[in-house]
Symmetry: C2
Subunit: 285 residues, 2 copies
């Protein structure tokens, strides 16, 4: 199954057999105080730099979040989107839980966006999905609902099914729903990663849709997190993960993803891997 | 299923749920001209240093190979084993395809060795397995036979079954057979890694024995091989790989293995991971 996300001039295909899609996570003021302050002051130069750096590092799509407390989120989100679309043709993933901001952003965006995100809660589904349909977007569905996040893979699959069915009822085809099976930290529960990997396998087998992860959640609370994230990504790719919200400017993560694409047979004759190697070798000269 | 390898004073358990066992690969003159020359000259100081370095980096077992063209392999192998057993208590994996050398080494070794290796060829099975039994060792069984290396996972499983059955006929219990499902390079065949991973899954499901890999084979012919190996190991661990012949002094490999143990639930509360992190942090001060 293929999910296609577009800018005005560029399409990105997410799907098994295609190179893994890296969605750059850095344009997000959560935990980045300076970026938040600049956004409020109307200064989007850092957004521009971060966008360029992530694209140069291999991001296929950029996540854009403008959620700053007391900020005018609709306006800031539109500014961020316009700033990025001026300097780059990568498609965008619009990341907001505020309905006004989401609708304003979808209206301003040129292309077919990915909406980040909707849960399996009825109230959220019935607010977000009509917007996804209206603006002909795709959407990330998180496998939790009113009852919270289950440790039981079957329960998460059930929530994923519910999201896909509800999307269909609004006229959104299943290829435009990307499920996030929810990655929790292994620091709190040694079985957390295996539960999510098992959920992925079941979703691939029973639902066949594309899957996404915020891979860095797996290492929350641990030291030297990049390596734990780097171990998780190949396992998840093997279980059906086809894209992730991640930081391609982190060489550990970028290199493990590109290497895993070779191993999965998504990068025939390792041509992307070899091109990246040459770029790195030239940069180190 | 647990395979236990011993020195005189130390036991290492290989098995699902236990931390992944790293078998240090460096004591091997293949492609290390200087080491080979020194071995022939009776100088085992490099063997001693390489053993110490690998153990310091976390090797649980050390592979020992003394195959130098024109060298007296039985004598050199015994010298290498005695050198290592003098300075370290890690159990050893005795690596030779020469019957005289193997028998001499097994006679000299104090403990329960791992023999590297036997194929599924009748002639090899009937020469190696009696020695494994006589010296109460465990053995690595390579999933190829007279017909070569099959691309078909089912065929490799069949060879693994044959090795286990033949071992049983010599009185060697199945927990003392560790199957190597054969890792081939993705540079020649984009499906090579997936074939082996599928073989691993089938062996885990149908035979339940421990599995080993020479993980670095997967990247033969590619640039920046460590990263490709590092992507392969987490995938393989998820499919049932419980040990590997690898280089623990390579930080990329060691760190991805330790991180993957956390993800697999083999390192509860990440205590090994955190200990390794602290050691690295102290070393970088």
């Amino acid at each position: 199954m293929e999910t296609i996300i577009k800018s005005k001039t560029k399409s990105v295909v997410i799907g098994a057999g295609h190179p893994f899609v890296m969605i750059g996570e850095r344009i997000n003021p959560t935990g980045r105080k300076k970026l938040g302050e600049e956004m409020i002051a109307g200064d989007f130069s850092r957004v521009e730099r971060d966008a360029a750096a992530q694209v140069a590092a291999g991001a296929h799509i950029l996540d854009v979040n403008a959620g700053v407390p007391l900020g005018d989120e609709p306006e800031m989100l539109i500014n961020a989107i316009r700033t990025i679309q001026k300097i780059s043709d990568v498609p965008l993933c619009i990341d907001s839980s505020v309905m006004d901001a989401l609708e304003a952003a979808l209206g301003a965006y040129e292309g077919k966006a990915l909406v980040n995100s909707v849960t399996g809660e009825d109230e959220r589904l019935d607010r977000v999905l009509p917007l996804v349909k209206k603006y002909n977007a795709a959407v990330i569905g998180l496998a939790n609902d009113e009852t919270g996040i289950s440790n039981d893979p079957e329960e998460r699959v059930r929530v994923a099914e519910k999201i896909i069915a509800r999307a269909a009822s609004y006229g959104i085809p299943r290829e435009d729903v990307i499920i996030d099976p929810l990655t929790m930290t292994v620091a709190a529960d040694p079985q957390a990663a295996r539960n999510t990997l098992e959920t992925m396998r079941m979703i691939r087998e029973h639902l066949g849709v594309n899957m996404i992860a915020g891979a860095s959640n797996v290492s929350f609370g641990l030291p030297d997190r990049s390596w734990v994230n780097a171990g998780y990504l190949p396992m998840a790719m093997l279980c059906g993960l086809t894209c992730a919200i991640t930081d391609p400017t982190n060489p550990t993560l970028r290199q493990i993803i590109l290497a895993s694409d070779v191993l999965m047979g998504n990068d025939e004759y390792a041509s992307n891997w070899i091109a990246d190697f040459r770029k790195r070798a030239a940069a180190n000269k």
